[in-house]
Structures are given as structure tokens and as C-alpha cells.
Amino acid sequence: MLHATEMLGAETYDAQGNFVGRVKELFIEPGDQPNRISSVLLSRGRFRPLVARHDQLDSMTPGNLRLNTDEAHLDLYKANEAWLAVGKDLLDQQIIDTNGRKVVRVNDLDLNDARINGSTELRVTQVDVGLRGALSRLLKGVVPHSLIRQLQQKLPQRSIPWEFVNLIEADPLRRVKLRLTHDKLTQLHPADLADIIEDLSPAERDSIFASLDETSAAEALAEVDDRVKAQIIEQLPPDRAANIMEEMPPDEAADVMADLSPETSERVLEAMQQKEAHDVRSLLRFEDDTAGGMMNTECVVVGEDATRDEVLEYLRTHEVPVDQLDSVVLIDLDAKFIGVVPAARLILAASDAKMRVLKLDLPVSVPANAKEKNIFELFDRYNLRSLVVVDSDHRPIGVIAVDDVVSRLCEKR
């Protein structure tokens, strides 16, 4: 096992034992093999630098590299955007640890050396983010490699296996050339991904959002801090922003829109599909700290004469977002609000039980302009899990869910 710092600066000799130059940089071609050192850049003072391919490396020890060929067989170096440079693109830069779910800085790389068909192949096994890597960076060139290794043994190891490393490349063109994907990020919980995104600089954030699929982007965006949210959306093309917004529940989309500049939000709304845009617009009419601003319009409203089976049939056949469903809202023939039936009662009820019979005794509702503070009190007093919002004709227009209440209370703290 070798460290990248032990290879960078290594004296290089060819098959005849002649000095060629010093290792200036190690390259990986992620599009080809994601962890193999594909070539080594050799600097030769005032002469033009050379490149040794991975199959031209014979053997290596810390600070020393031997080639299995003559200097004459090496190519001249030409910069290539599709090559990932270990020294320039990895050391000292930030990466995402998808297992530990955080952003860390690279101190060193561990390289595994394996003998294959007359050459030695170097593969990145893990990224050192701890004191061991820090020590070798500090002492390299000042004390011998062997002493550094001895000292390192006394320090705790902190490293991340290469398969859990997600590289961050702010430049979108370069990212495509390097064929970096963010597949690993989409497997994270949206809240974890949001935390990671908040740790990054705007350019890095935008680059990640540009490559996430719309559902993941929408889920992560919903969890991100408000200011960051608005900044990300403002940087996206309106079409893409609109697609992400359509993936969000209307109340969350409206919250995001409210933080955008009026011009941007109008542009995004215009790019959205009619129905979704209408939902968001109708929510945008309400002040953020009122019932209207808190509610979600995607709620299930049924007539009081409906039976349990009819309602379940409706839920099955319509695209109802059921993840957050904890009650259905009842209306009379005038479409006026008369009460709610908790989902638990629905499950337990007989198949022909009428909604009117199943509903809770106390129909609690608030007008759209009710203040946030009063809503918190209602939730507390009646131990609610959702609260119906009604218009001036006492018709239900949305539901406030307890998770929205909790997140607002947390913000207040």
C-alpha cells in the first residue's frame, strides 16, 4: 500500500535505470476505470513533461518509481479535461462522504499496488481525511518517508472507502467530461442530502442540482434552508425549476415561490403546467404566517353520505398522495365543511359505515387568514394531527398537517 503523497514527487527511472524525471501528477480516467491511476505525469525541469501510462509502471516504493520501458517510449503530455488529477482535483479539495453523509476535505489517498502482466497497477482504495494524511502532507520532503510512516502508526486512522466518495465538480462541462454522476447522492435521505448541500458553495450546489433527477431534486430542495432554496431555484433554467416545482406538494412549492424574486417566480409559474401553477398561485395569495400560507391544498374531501368502501375506492383509483394522509375531510351537499374522519377510524370501520357516523365529534376549522400563533394553540389544545382551513363560505380549501406545525415551531426556537 502506498500514499498519493509518497508518489507525488517520486524520482522516476526507466528500465535501464536512467533518471527520467519526477512525478508531478497522478491521473485517473473516471470514464474508463473509476479508481485506477491511468497515467503519471513526469516533469523534467526545462524539458517538456512526459506521461507514463499505467502499463508502463514497473514498480514503486515511497518516493521512487521504476518504469518497465525506455524514456523514448513515453508520450509527451497533453492536458486532458477528462482526466482527474489527484494532486490538483482531489488533494485539499472537498468531497462528499456518502456513507457518513457529510462533506470532508481530502488529506491524502491510499493506493493499492498490484502486479499485473509485467506492470504494477495503482488503484485508489480510500481517501484519508484524518491526522495521518495531515502529518504526511506537513512533513513530506522534510523527513524521510519511512519516518513519516512510523509516526503515522501512532495516529488514529480516519478514511473513507473510495466507493463512498462522491466528487464535487463545480464546472458543469468538466463534470460531463469526467463522467461524474451523483447516483450515490440520490440514495441518501433527502434531509441528509439537504444538509450536505447547505455545506457547499453556491457553484458546487448548482452543479449537483443540475444533475439530480427531478424527484430527488424536489425532495432535497424541500428540506433545504429557505435562503439557499431560493438561490438554487434562481440559478436553474425556468423549465427545469418548473419541473422540480411540479414534483413538490403545492404548499411547499408555494413556500419556495414566496422566497423568490417576483420576476423569477412569475417565470417559473409560467413554465409550470396549468393545473399545478394554478394550485401554487392560489396558495401564494395567502400571507406566509397565516393558515392559508401553511396549508396544503392536496387534501381528500368527501361527502358525508359516502360509505367507508366508497372512500377507500376513491383513494385507490385517484392519485391521492397518501404518505401524509391522516384524515379525510367531510362536506355536506352545499360543499360546506362539517367534520373530519381520521384514517385510523376508516381502517377499522365496517365497509358500509357512513362517513357522517365515523366523523369526530368536534369539527375544528380555521379561516384562511387565521394567525400562525392561534393555529399552534389549536393543535396543542385539541391534540390535532391535521387542521382544516375553510374559506368565507365555510368550504374546505386545504389542510394544515402537524409536520408543518412542527417545522415552524422549530424555526421559531
Binding site: 488533494l91 472537498q94 458553495s201 400571507e287 374531501v301 368527501v302 360509505t307 374559506d391 380549501i397 426556537r413
Partner: protein, 440 residues
């Protein structure tokens, strides 16, 4: 049965109401953005007037009267120019200064910059706790009570609060600097004379004058504030669009900082200098000397100002230092983490407070040597950091269209070179003759 989505029920918007609402929303948005952006600049500049600073300003006023007031205007410009660059870097890159140094100049440069940071800030923290001890002694509280108490308050304030709460407390602390305005008014200075001395430069060619000039610059522009300010701007997530607000924040901060310096110098000039009490060595002495000359309230206000400044800086310095070092070297940092998650961060933070406060309590502690070492480290640190800033700010790949304009570069390089020369002289003098540098 009529199961249906509530979409069909939700009403249509009323045009007029909606447009009114839209209109106020824009205004409220702007105000909210401005309030959200201000803070780092004002706090950074004011922390600059810490215990060490107030001591220097008092000595300047007592020894030279109004003579050095002219230097405040060029210093305001230097403070603004250097801080503005850091705020701009924070906005353009979204990264802290230590992050940028690490990414662009590598591990070893970062390590030495951080080591210097630790030395300098430790020295400063000692000075802050000395300020707490001295000011509380004027109110009759022994240092064996005041210093541990201050340490505990500082430690808990930061670890128990969220960034936003702490920032609010800090902004309130900025208001308490007005104590110096009142104590200057109570000192009945010659305002006309002071105003003239501020705008008309004068120069004396003697050792005291030059040393105090150098000391004044050295205490006012310190590298840690670049790191703190940039981190604050990044933390606030100021976007390029809102950059002008951040710049305003820095401008207000630089000017208000120098206005406070003006009042401190005027206050001691009008009293101590006029009555011939020219040889004081620290700010607490100045406060005591004020009592017979300008009344006990002027003295108390002065001491209160010192206490506020010392506590304020003692809260920010260790935190900022621990943050900067951990971030630069890649350790987990920030008060949002638990001790287990960020052990190095918390250890450093706690050690700075314990050592900083502890040194004051040890009888015959090598206080002078610590301050001296810190002064020398500062002399090495400031030039390097300033050069790093100048190199980073002119990089188009990092800054985009926010690099320095040629004219700004001329001002900034002139300022940097002047600062570097003055700081090196100060460090040199501190070593050769500590007494002359106000450390005796």
C-alpha cells in the same frame, strides 16, 4: 356521494388585493434581505476595538493628545478596503478564507497560517481576559472572581446558543460601545480642535510618535477579522445579487469602529493629556485616571466600555480561531456539532478560553512573553494573509466578475504594503524594546 379534491373549491384571486399584496411583499422582501445580510461587518469591525485596542487608543490620547487623530481616516479606508475584499470573496466563492487558502495554496501553507493564528489569537484572548480583570477591578470585583466568571459566561453563551441568537447578542454589544461617546462628552473636549486634528494631518519625527502610530495600525487591522468576516458572510449565504448590502454592512462597520476610536482618543486627550497624565500603560489606568478629572461617571462608563469590549472579543476570538483552524485543516467544526463529532474543535475552543483566562490568574505568569510572542506571530501572519487575499481576489476562475478593478488594486496593494511595513516594524520593535512598544 361527492368525493372530490379541494382544488375545485378553492376560490379565484381578487386582482386588486393580490397586486397590493405583491407590492408589499417586494418591499418586505428587500427589508428582510437587508436585515438578513447585515451583521458580520458591523460585528467584526467592533470586535476590533477590543481590550488591546482600547489600551492603545487610550495611550495614544494620553500621550499625544489629538495629534494622531488624522490617522483615523486613512485607517478607516484601509479597514474598509481589506474587509470589503473578504466580504466579496465570501459572496463570490461561498467559501471561507481558510477553505480558499487550503484549496489554492495547499496544506503546508495553511498549516503555518493556522499555527500563527493560534499564537496570535491566544495572545489576544489573554489580553481580553486581562481587560475583563482590570475593568472589573475598577468596580471593586477581584480578578479571581471576574475572570473565571467571564470564562464560564463566554463558554456557555457560545455553546448553548445558535448562531443567530449569538449574533443578536453581539449586535447589542456593539451598541454598548456608545459608552465611549458619553464618556467623551463628559470629558468636555475641545471639539473644534479635535475635528481639525482629524482632517489636517500633522507629523512628528520622534520615537514615541512613530511607535504609537505603528501600534495604532497594528491593533486596528488584524488578520483574524478577515477570517471571521468572510465566514460570517458565507454563513449568512449572501448571494451575488445582495452583495451591495454586505458591502454597506462592512462600510457601516468600518466607520462606526473608527468613530468609537475617535471618541476614546478624544476622551483621554481632553482629560489625561491636558492634565499631564501622559504615562499610562493600560486602559484600566485610563479609566481610573478619568475619575478625578472628568467625574466618576466618565470613569465608570470608560471602564464599562472596556468590560463590554473585552467580553465581546473574548466570546468571538476563541470561537473564530477554533473554527478557522479546524476548517482549514479539515476537522469537523461548528457549534451545531456535538462534542463527539467535533472533538478537536471543542478542545481548541475550550483550551483557548481556559489558557487565556488562566494565565491572568497565575501570579507572576509570563504575560509579557505571551503578548510579545503573539505580536511577533502577528507580524509574520498579517503580511502572508494579506498577500494571499490579494492573490485570491484577482483570480477570475474563483471570483468571476467580482475581481478587483485596477483602481481598487492600486489602493489595496498600497494599503497592503503600508500595512506590512508598519506591522513588521511593530513586531521588530516589540522584540528589541518591549517597553517602547507599550508592552512593559
Amino acid at each position: 356521494m361527492s368525493p372530490r379534491s379541494s382544488r375545485e373549491i378553492s376560490g379565484n384571486g381578487q386582482g386588486r388585493l393580490r397586486s397590493m399584496w405583491r407590492h408589499t411583499r417586494t418591499m418586505r422582501r428587500r427589508l428582510a434581505i437587508f436585515l438578513a445580510v447585515i451583521g458580520p461587518g458591523i460585528i467584526t469591525s467592533n470586535v476590533d476595538n477590543d481590550a488591546g485596542g482600547i489600551t492603545t487608543y487610550s495611550v495614544v490620547g494620553a500621550q499625544l493628545g489629538y495629534a494622531l487623530l488624522w490617522s483615523l481616516i486613512p485607517m478607516t479606508i484601509a479597514l474598509y478596503v481589506s474587509e470589503e475584499m473578504c466580504a466579496r470573496m465570501g459572496v463570490a466563492t461561498g467559501k471561507g478564507l481558510s477553505d480558499l487558502i487550503r484549496e489554492e495554496f495547499g496544506f503546508r501553507s495553511t498549516f503555518f497560517v493556522m499555527a500563527a493564528a493560534l499564537l496570535v489569537d491566544l495572545g489576544n484572548t489573554v489580553a481580553e481576559f486581562a481587560g475583563v480583570a482590570a475593568s472589573m477591578q475598577i468596580f471593586g470585583v477581584a480578578k479571581y472572581l471576574s475572570v473565571p466568571l467571564a470564562g464560564i459566561i463566554v463558554w456557555f453563551l457560545v455553546l448553548r446558543g445558535t448562531y443567530r441568537q449569538v449574533e443578536k447578542i453581539f449586535l447589542v454589544a456593539c451598541v454598548f460601545y456608545l459608552a465611549y461617546f458619553f464618556s467623551a462628552v463628559l470629558a468636555h473636549p475641545d471639539w473644534l480642535h479635535a475635528a481639525r486634528a482629524t482632517v489636517v494631518p500633522s507629523f512628528e519625527w520622534n520615537q514615541d510618535y512613530l511607535l504609537l502610530l505603528v501600534g495604532l495600525v497594528g491593533t486596528t487591522i488584524a488578520p483574524w477579522q478577515f477570517f471571521y468576516l468572510q465566514a460570517g458572510v458565507v454563513e449568512k449565504r449572501v448571494s451575488r445579487k445582495d452583495y451591495r448590502h454586505a458591502r454597506m454592512d462592512v462600510l457601516v462597520g468600518s466607520i462606526s469602529c473608527m468613530v468609537i476610536v475617535f471618541f476614546i482618543i478624544v476622551c483621554t486627550a481632553a482629560t489625561l493629556h491636558r492634565s499631564g497624565v501622559t504615562h499610562i500603560t493600560d486602559a484600566a489606568q485610563a479609566a481610573q485616571a478619568l475619575v478625578p478629572l472628568a467625574g466618576k461617571y466618565a470613569g465608570y462608563l470608560f471602564a464599562f466600555g472596556l468590560l463590554n469590549a473585552s467580553l465581546f472579543a473574548a466570546s468571538i476570538l476563541p470561537l473564530s480561531t477554533a473554527h478557522v483552524i479546524c476548517e482549514g485543516l479539515g476537522f469537523e467544526a461548528g457549534i451545531d456539532n456535538k462534542f463527539r463529532e467535533a472533538p478537536i474543535f471543542y478542545s481548541l475552543y475550550t483550551a483557548l478560553i481556559v489558557v487565556g483566562g488562566g494565565v491572568i490568574l497565575i501570579p507572576k505568569a509570563p504575560l509579557l512573553k505571551i503578548l510579545l510572542l503573539s505580536q511577533v506571530a502577528n507580524g509574520v501572519w498579517l503580511p502572508i494573509v494579506l498577500v494571499f487575499i490579494m492573490l485570491l481576489i484577482n483570480r477570475t476562475d474563483l471570483m468571476g466578475n467580482l475581481t478587483n478593478t485596477p483602481a481598487f488594486n492600486v489602493v489595496a496593494w498600497t494599503m497592503s504594503v503600508a500595512m506590512i511595513i508598519l506591522t513588521l516594524i511593530f513586531a521588530f520593535v516589540s522584540v528589541v524594546s518591549p517597553a517602547a512598544a507599550g508592552l512593559g
